[in-house]
Amino acid sequence: MNILLLLIPLSLLFLAGAVWVFFWAVNHDQFDDLETPGLLPLDDLDRRERPPQ
């Protein structure tokens, strides 16, 4: 059972890491718009030169 003393702190560490990463993502606009980024691949279809204004 001594292995618990290693595994439990490890799992808590992972947990804290996951929460931190997730909070970072939420605070950096990653979850604000879940639909539009799906359209970004459309960019690849733009093969033309940008015209002068």
Binding site: M1, L4, I8, S11, L12, L15, A18, V19, F22, F23, V26, N27, F31, D32, D33, E35, T36, G38, L39, L42, D43, L45, D46, R48, E49, R50, P51, Q53
Partner: protein, 817 residues
């Protein structure tokens, strides 16, 4: 390919004569109007013609006067301060509400077309919310230029208050997501530590390990209770402060009781701990609320978009005529002109003789109020007949915004009856649950004190009224979202119930069953009047009726004509004195009241002065492509379709015959239509009114439920329960399907919640249910309600319009000429 009867850009049927073409990607494409032609050519010029290949829905019809003066009004410092955020180092940011974002290719097109402009730093488009966030360098471009560029591409855009709503809402959804995640992780971990106990391994564990597991449970459950569950405590405190028993009260009590009891057990090092139960309880509750919040935001994005498109501009009268300015530029003492159906932009005093205004937004009084010269008008009220002049007395962002905010707010402020009833039921239920909990605790304290606490907690948790309280809002928000995606915007959520129950649909003809834009077919003059059309066009500009607009569009009118005594007569026509001549434009019996006219002028619009008729105008109209299928679909649902129109008998009869509608009334004034609605309702019918023009406002208000087509005058939108965007009549039958499904699911949900509680609570009170099982049961019952609500809109076939996608997929016969 060229036989395609629809406009290449917007997909609308082409006008009968004089089709124009634009070259797109080397091919000449037919265009319905100059607005679309300009937009298509501009898109081609930018090298973005791929848009037409990428899109999945036709574009919105482009406005003809792209780059009109209204954009320049945003240049004023007063307006700019409101909508532009200064990011420092010469960069500015604005949030634009873009009307007409219909498919994913629009996002691409907007980002590209703005992106190539010099000085534009970044463009982010959110297709669902119809918003674009633009950052630009102040030295190289300006907001009016950006708006103009969007207008040239065919999108109407309106800058939103830069600090407003969105940040608040973004914070709400971010907070909810974080709380949900913390609760989820916490529940997961706590469950892991608790599994050892549940599997009976506890006996095999030595005491220190058991203690360790208890403390670890405490460690992970603490942030769940103190961070994730905070909204429940806050909600409970609020409802207790208001002396009510909301659904948060038992939830907060259960969380607090289970947590503190487990804490005591952990410290004492004996007995059961329920850290896993409490974490799971919080997690599932938050999950339900999160789903509900997302559906709510989504529905609100779309209804907001509509309400906000009401232009925040006013027509100010200065020395050099009438000028369009931003509402914030108005000063006390300015004279402002308000058109029929327009919204009074600021508090002021009426300068014209008299008018009628609808102040229902502000006072709740639905009957229009009469106002005479020198009476005051309130910002935000809607002018029923006009145009009128008023002198501004109170301005400032407060008044002007109050008017707009009233429009937005009204859509959301009123809580649906269905929901109020649901909440009342839940409230009574909560009171009973609390009583039952106390009874259980009391009874067990006598029988077996050691089991009193677990049993009481189980009762509290298992009967948490979440399933009850969620039954209505979950279904409603889901329905609103499903409808909004189909272009049906529900302004008053009560409408869903009424829509499901309706038995008769009363259609207006002009602009509803037929296309909103008419065109002038021919002009017949009496005698040698050469400027008849110009006079008529000048007069017609005073009205928003579709026929008037067709005449106004045919000629520029007389610029700067000395016009006085302007009055619009609902259902009849317009009268005014131009250059000393008293002129009337409208129905034959209105324009030429004192002499009988030949029957052939029955369906014509006449221009007359005091001497006699000057000219007769005939406009042609076109049935909407989906009118037939829409009415067939409604008929299949057992709904009776009716037509009430102010138009000539033979025209109405023709349309009715084509749509197989046997009951119709022609030559009906608004009062006649209203009387008919009252008659139908007296006969036990539930009437849905569908309309478009200003003439319909009273009918829409008088029916059980009303639908306005979004192109209609602002007035109609203001008084209808549901707004249909895109002019797709077929969506009505779909909306009714959804409404019926919603009601069915609400009833199902309520029944399910009742059965669950009736069967589970006695077991819990008798002590057969451990708290963890209670938490699981409660969560599953709420989740069941939400998942059931999510079925709304899934089972209903979408009844997709065979939408005129550009290459000839639409049979020519569908666009009835």
């Amino acid at each position: 390919m060229q036989s395609c009867p629809n406009c290449w850009h917007c997909g609308e049927p082409l006008p009968a004569g004089g089709v124009i073409h634009a070259r797109v990607a080397g091919t000449a494409r037919p265009m319905c109007c100059h607005g679309c032609k300009a937009a298509a050519e501009w898109i081609e010029q930018l090298g973005l013609a791929d848009y037409y290949a990428l899109r999945t829905a036709p574009a919105q019809r482009a406005a003809a006067e792209a780059g009109s003066a209204s954009h320049d009004a945003w240049a004023g410092a007063d307006n700019a301060r409101h909508v532009i955020r200064d990011l420092g180092n010469g960069q500015r940011e604005s949030l634009l509400l873009v009307d007409g974002v219909r498919c994913t290719a629009c996002v691409w097109l907007i980002e590209r077309s703005l992106g190539v402009m010099p000085g534009v730093v970044s463009v982010q488009v959110n297709a669902v919310a119809q918003r674009a966030r633009v950052v630009w360098r102040d030295s190289q471009t300006t907001l009016p230029l950006l708006l103009q560029a969007l207008a040239r591409t065919g999108y109407r855009a309106l800058p939103l208050d830069a600090r407003g709503l969105d940040d608040l809402r973004r914070r709400e959804s971010r907070d909810a997501l974080k709380r949900l995640l913390v609760a989820g992780f916490g529940a997961m971990q706590a469950m892991m530590y608790a599994t050892a106990f549940y599997l009976g391994a506890a006996d095999a564990l030595d005491a220190p390990t058991r203690d360790l597991l208890r403390w670890l449970g405490l460690l992970v459950a603490t942030p769940v209770v103190f961070y994730s569950a905070r909204p429940f405590f806050a909600g409970a405190r609020r409802s207790l402060a208001a002396r009510r028993v909301g659904m948060d009260v038992p939830v907060a009590m259960a969380i607090a009781a289970v947590y503190s009891m487990s804490l005591i057990e952990a410290v004492r090092g004996s007995g059961e701990v329920y850290f896993d139960s409490v974490s799971m309880f919080v997690f599932f509750l938050l999950a339900g609320r999160y789903l509900e919040m997302r559906a709510r935001h989504r529905a609100r994005d779309l209804t907001d978009a509509l309400a906000r498109l009401t232009p925040p501009f006013a027509d100010r009268k200065g020395e050099d005529g009438i000028q369009r300015v931003g509402i914030h530029e108005l000063r006390v003492g300015d004279v402002v002109r308000v058109a029929e159906g327009g919204i009074v932009p600021a508090d002021g005093v009426l300068l014209s003789e008299r008018c009628r205004v609808d102040e229902s937004l502000l006072s709740g009084e639905s009957a229009p109020q009469s106002r005479c010269r020198d009476d005051s008008l309130i910002a935000g009220s809607v002018l029923e007949d006009g145009p009128v002049l008023l002198r501004v007395r109170r301005v400032g962002a407060d008044t002007a915004l109050a008017g707009i905010a009233a429009l937005v707010g009204r859509a959301h402020a009123g809580r649906p009856r269905l929901q109020v009833a649901g909440e009342l039921a839940a409230g009574r239920f909560v009171a009973r649950v609390l009583a039952l909990t106390a009874l259980t605790a009391g009874a067990w304290a006598i029988v077996d004190p050691s089991r009193a606490f677990p049993a009481a907690v189980a009762v509290l948790v298992i009967s948490c009224p979440c399933a009850f309280a969620l039954a209505v809002p979950a279904a409603l928000t889901r329905a609103l979202g499903a409808l909004a995606r189909r272009g049906v915007l529900v302004v008053k959520p009560d409408a869903i119930q009424a829509l499901a129950d309706c038995t008769h649909v009363l259609f207006d003809k002009t602009g509803t069953l037929t296309e909103p834009t008419l065109s002038l077919r021919d002009v017949q003059t009496f005698g040698s009047n050469t400027d008849a059309l110009r006079l008529a066009a000048t007069l017609a500009r005073q009205s928003r009726h579709p026929v008037a607009r067709a005449i106004a569009a045919a000629d520029a009118g007389i610029p700067g004509a000395a016009m006085c005594d302007v009055a619009t007569h609902a259902g009849l026509g317009v009268s005014a004195t131009i250059d000393g001549r008293a002129l009337r434009l409208g129905r034959g019996d209105f324009a030429v009241a004192h002499q009988p006219l030949a029957r052939e002028y029955d369906d014509a619009v006449l221009l007359a002065d005091d001497v006699g008729p000057i000219a007769a105008f005939r406009v042609s109209e076109r049935l909407r492509a989906d009118a037939g299928t829409a009415i067939d679909a409604l008929r299949a649902q057992g709904v009776t379709a009716l037509i009430a129109s102010g138009d000539a008998t033979n025209k109405v009869a023709g349309i009715a015959a084509r749509l197989n509608i046997s009951t119709w009334r022609a030559r009906a004034l608004p009062a006649d239509k209203l009387a008919w609605v009252a008659e139908l309702r007296a006969g036990g019918a539930r009437v849905l009114a569908v309309g478009d023009g200003v003439n319909d406002a009273p009918v829409l208000a008088g029916a059980d439920v009303s639908i306005a087509l979004a192109e209609g005058a602002e007035l109609t939108q203001a008084s209808s329960d549901i707004v249909l965007t895109g002019g797709r009549l077929e969506a009505i039958a779909y909306a009714r399907d959804i409404a019926r499904q919603t009601l069915a699911i609400v009833r199902q949900n309520q029944r399910w919640a009742l059965i669950y509680n009736l069967s589970a609570v006695p077991l819990a009170a008798l002590g057969f249910v451990p708290p963890w099982l209670a938490a699981l049961g409660m969560s599953l019952s709420s989740l069941g309600v939400i998942l059931n609500a999510l079925r709304i809109g899934r089972g209903v076939p979408p009844r997709e319009t065979p939408h005129p996608s550009p290459p000839a997929t639409t049979a020519p016969s569908e666009a009835v000429a």
